[in-house]
């Protein structure tokens, strides 16, 4: 049988090497090679999806090769429903992002495409890794390409944004390294065996002190990535400065790494600590949900608004994870997928406008419905999806999170529900400012530059729209996939008890 997971992870590497040999004066060839690579990668992940069995428990398509035997570190990869769906999301969004970069990226195309493909390796690797050490390696691999993408191909204030992004996430992840090593060491100390394998560590009963320490370090890494309030301020800056495709990946995949980490590692490994900190994390999530939306309402910049909406939407993910309730956690996973699709698409929409106007301020936009009807429709569609319109995928995730939360903490769900209004407020405001009323004078001045979406732009958005609609009406296949793993995680968590020494 083919090592499908490894193929998915490392096909981009092959593509990157190929691109390295494409002459510098052939940018179009470079682009197509990159796109073809991402398509092949997407293909591999789809093959996995086709061969995935929702009824089987545990991980599938596993590969296991010793890597650093001294410490029991293994190249161990495999997928369960949660990771597979996120891998497919990653490969899809990467392909779309590469396509979306065809026109906007004209400078250093070769470097850009290589960077992007390396980024894909890291992202897929994080989701596929079943060894904590391997996970960490992939986790960090993601960092540098993103740093370069924002820093080299980003906007005017990119250096500030990129350094902030890098340092902020690095602080979290390096502390997580300490947590990982401490975890493995305690396992070694009590069993005499070195292992970083997820299957060994999950469910192993670690001491309270270690659980608290490691949980906190993991939490920092994941909370910064998600990003949770109050660790979110790198996000608006990074988004505003990133090129469109960078924003798509940042919002679509990178933020998911945090949520995935919580589900895959924080909960099963440290159930006691998870129970201890859950109330605080739930509180932070609810604050993020409301606060992100409130701040989004007054953003004067299209992209910043979408960035803050991410803070709000990702709050649902962390909320759903930490109420330890089946529907809520399924909703959280589903919400991760949705957010990837919808916010990714919204950033593409921002990009479409930015490409024509080089401006994203609402003050200068307006009235696009008349000149760019197709664009207006697309934007409206994703706006509604983001607002959680039933029938589109955004609704399913949010609804499941909230109904699950309600079952265990009605008040929390009730407070979070306010976002239904707040979310609609900023989204409809945004839509009104961009699409409605008469064409602004600024836009009139652009003349023929202001044309409706080009075929390539349509090609990037249509698959996302189709998926958003499809998942909204038929979420069952995805929910079936994540149900098993979620109950596995909850099973681990259910053995945890809140530790006494913290309030």
């Amino acid at each position: 049988m083919l090592p499908l997971v490894s193929l998915t992870i490392f096909t981009p590497l092959v593509g990157a090497l190929l691109i390295a040999f494409v002459p510098r004066d052939r940018p179009q060839l470079t682009r197509w090679v990159a796109f073809a690579t991402t398509l092949v990668t997407l293909g591999w992940s789809l093959v996995m999806l086709a061969g995935f069995s929702t009824s089987a428990s545990g991980f599938q398509f596993t590969e296991d090769v010793p890597w650093i035997p001294f410490f029991g570190i293994r190249y161990q990869v495999g997928v369960d429903g949660i990771s597979l769906i996120l891998i497919v999301l990653t490969t899809l969004l990467t392909a779309i992002s590469v396509l979306a970069s065809f026109r906007p990226i004209q400078d250093r195309v070769k470097e850009y495409m290589i960077t992007f493909l390396v980024l894909e390796i890291g992202m897929v690797g994080v989701f596929a890794a079943l060894d904590l050490f391997l996970f960490y390696v992939f986790w960090e691999v993601v960092l540098v390409p993103m740093y370069l993408i924002i820093g080299i191909w980003g906007g005017a204030n990119r250096i500030y944004a990129t350094i902030k992004f890098m340092l902020y996430t690095l602080v979290g992840s390096l502390l997580m390294l300490v947590g990982i090593l401490a975890t493995a060491f305690e396992y070694h100390a009590s069993t005499g065996v070195w292992s970083f394998a997820y299957q060994d560590l999950a469910g192993f009963h670690f001491s309270p002190a270690l659980q608290v320490f490691a949980f906190v370090t993991f939490f920092l890494a994941f909370a910064i990535k998600v990003p949770m309030f109050p660790f979110h301020t790198w996000l608006p800056d990074a988004h505003v400065e990133a090129p469109t495709a960078g924003s798509v990946i940042l919002a679509g995949v990178l933020l998911k790494l945090g949520g995935y980490g919580f589900i895959r590692y924080s909960l099963p490994l440290y159930p006691d600590a998870a129970h201890t900190f859950a109330p605080a994390i739930i509180a932070l999530s609810v604050i993020a949900i409301i606060y992100g939306a409130v701040v989004a309402v007054v953003q004067p910049d299209f992209k910043k608004l979408v960035a803050y909406s991410s803070v709000s939407h990702m709050g649902f993910v962390t909320l759903g994870i930490f109420v330890f309730q089946s529907q809520a956690m399924q909703g959280a996973v589903f919400q991760m997928v949705n957010h990837g699709l919808i916010t990714g698409a919204l950033f593409l929409c921002v990009g479409v406008i930015y490409e024509r106007t080089h401006d994203r301020r609402f003050a200068n936009l307006g009235g696009l419905a008349g000149r760019l009807p197709l664009y207006a429709t697309t934007l409206g569609f994703f706006m509604l999806a983001s607002a959680g319109l039933p029938g589109l995928s955004g609704f399913v995730g949010e609804f499941l999170v909230l109904i699950g939360t309600f079952a265990v903490a009605p008040l929390v769900a009730g407070i979070a529900a306010i976002v239904m209004v707040l979310g609609a407020t900023y989204l409809f405001y945004m839509f009104q400012q961009v699409v409605f009323v008469d064409l602004s004078d600024f836009l009139k001045g652009l003349g023929d530059h202001l044309h409706d979406m080009a075929p390539i732009e349509i090609a990037t958005l249509v698959p996302l729209a189709a998926l958003v609609l499809l998942l909204g009406l038929f979420p069952a296949p995805v929910l079936d996939m994540i149900q098993g793993p979620v109950s596995g995680v909850l099973d681990h968590v259910s053995h945890g008890v809140a530790l006494g020494f913290l309030p």
Binding site: E111, M166, L170, V171, L175, F185
Partner: protein
């Protein structure tokens, strides 16, 4: 001296021989600099081969046990020789345009390396001191190698004065330890101290000895607050020399620490662990903080090397803080070794890129020199990025693995040392700022109009390739390195 002695000292003797050969060549055919340096390079490679060959039968002794060739010696010798090879490969591109004598450089370097090799093999306090002096004296000369350059000589004299001062301090401490224990033999000292360690507090004499030794060694590894010489000496020296200075004497000083503190002073390690912990914390923090605002890349790398000293000291702290005989003890030593190896390649690689940029005389090592490098010389930019990423400690590079190893050791040691690990990673995060600032300049700023083209000689390219490959390979496949380090640590315990 018998036949066994000969094989034991073969690597060292060969290095000496090579140094003399280079001088001879220079004398016989003066002006044939390339020939001399070529001989030196190839010769060093041959010596590496010899070392690897004799490594099959270890441990061996010579001079009545004062000199030992064990796993640790082999590992360190190979590392020192690699440093020699790489430095020799980088040097021509920098020295020749400046009309600095390459043959002399090669010979001096080889002598210094032989000193380092002597340190790594010494099982006698006196030999240790001799090795140390043999290491540093050529180092002073190398620092001032560009003798018409004010900065070079300024760095050299600072290095020399402070270095000699610290040598005296070190020697003073050595005298006391010798006086108290009554022997210069490392194992003799160790067994003599075994009695002392049994519950009694240290005698004042031994305490003075330890304090002076610790200070002397701290100077050699450039630990805060004994680090002052580093930035000036590094900045002033010709760039290939800076590269050498940042790794050669530092790794040799750690070899000294291994032989002296781990070999001889281990029984009283409970008494010096606190000093190491404090030194480690101060060193990495100050090194990183000051590096944050540097605008000269060489000087920045000098401070960064101070910070890396701090990380390596975490390994030592892990060793010292761990219970005797525990696994953590060995882990700490392995951490020191693995970090030293990783650091050698990534740091030399970074300096090689700086040297390459400075091929044309008059080009400074200011950050501005790096502006737009990613466009002007994509490969150089890429490699510099790789080395900087490794220095930051981001996988999949050698720097990451080494850092993880040291941190693991600290965690295994537990207690206060474990918190040192936390401090280390926070420092690493701060360090990312200044390392990545170079990346910012290379990729996110445009080159000035008159930026000179970047050209590299064959040797430099080969050297860069070696450093880059090592940086990646150690990061991805560290197994053999771990095995070697494990064996070396075992030889020490």
């Amino acid at each position: 001296m018998n036949a066994g002695d000969v094989t034991a000292i073969l690597p060292l003797a060969a290095t000496w021989g090579l140094a003399f050969l280079v001088i001879l060549v220079d004398v016989i055919v003066p002006g044939r600099d390339r020939l001399a340096s070529g001989i030196a390079t190839l010769g060093a490679l041959v010596v590496m081969g010899i070392t690897a060959a004799v490594a099959t039968q270890v441990p061996q002794q010579a001079f009545g046990g004062a000199y030992v060739l064990d796993q640790l010696t082999v590992l360190l010798d190979l590392l020192f020789l690699s440093i020699a090879v790489l430095t020799l490969l980088y040097a021509p591109d920098y020295l020749r345009p400046r009309r600095l004598p390459l043959a002399e450089f090669s010979a001096t370097l080889l002598f210094a390396i032989s000193g380092a090799m002597l340190v790594s093999a010494a099982r006698d306090l006196l030999v240790l001191f001799l090795g140390l002096e043999l290491l540093v004296l050529p180092g002073y000369l190398l620092a001032g190698f560009a003798k018409r350059d004010g900065l070079s000589t300024e760095g050299a004299i600072k290095y020399f004065l402070l270095g000699s001062f610290s040598s005296a301090v070190f020697l003073f401490g050595l005298a006391y330890v010798w006086g108290v224990t009554g022997t210069t033999n490392v194992s003799g000292v160790s067994s003599a101290l075994q009695a002392v360690a049994a519950g009694h507090p240290l005698s004042p004499g031994l305490a003075m000895g330890l304090a002076f030794l610790m200070s002397g060694v701290a100077f050699k590894v450039a630990a805060v607050p004994f680090h002052y010489w580093t930035p000036d000496a590094y900045q002033g020296s010709p760039t290939p020399v800076t590269g050498y200075l940042s790794v050669g004497p530092k790794v040799a000083a750690f070899a000294l620490i291994l032989r002296l503190f781990v070999g001889a002073l281990a029984p009283v390690k409970a008494d010096w662990v606190a000093a190491v912990v404090i030194l480690a914390a101060l060193t990495m923090t100050l090194g990183n903080l000051v590096a944050l605002t540097q605008t000269n890349v060489k000087r920045m790398l000098a401070y960064s090397s101070i910070a890396h000293t701090g990380y390596i000291l975490v390994g030592l702290a892990a060793y010292a803080g761990a219970a005797p005989g525990s696994e953590a003890e060995a882990r700490g030593l392995q951490g020191i070794l693995i970090y030293a190896v990783a650091y050698t390649f990534m740091n030399l690689g970074a300096f090689a890129v700086v040297a390459a940029l400075q091929r044309r005389p008059g080009v400074t090592s200011d950050l501005q020199t790096f502006a737009g490098l990613g466009r002007r010389a994509p490969l150089a930019g890429l490699l510099m990025t790789l080395f900087l990423i490794s220095l930051t400690g981001i996988p999949p590079t050698a720097g990451f693995f080494a850092k993880a190893y040291v941190i693991l050791a600290a965690i295994q040691a537990g207690g206060i040392v474990a918190w040192l690990a936390v401090l280390a990673v926070l420092n690493a995060a701060a360090a990312a700022f200044y390392y990545l600032r170079v990346v910012v300049y290379m990729y996110m700023r445009e080159a000035p109009e008159a930026a000179p083209p970047v050209a590299r000689g064959f040797e430099l390219q080969a050297g860069l390739a070696i450093a880059a490959v090592a940086t990646i390979v150690i990061g991805l496949f560290p197994n053999s390195l771990i095995a070697i380090a494990e064996a070396a640590a075992k030889a020490l315990l």
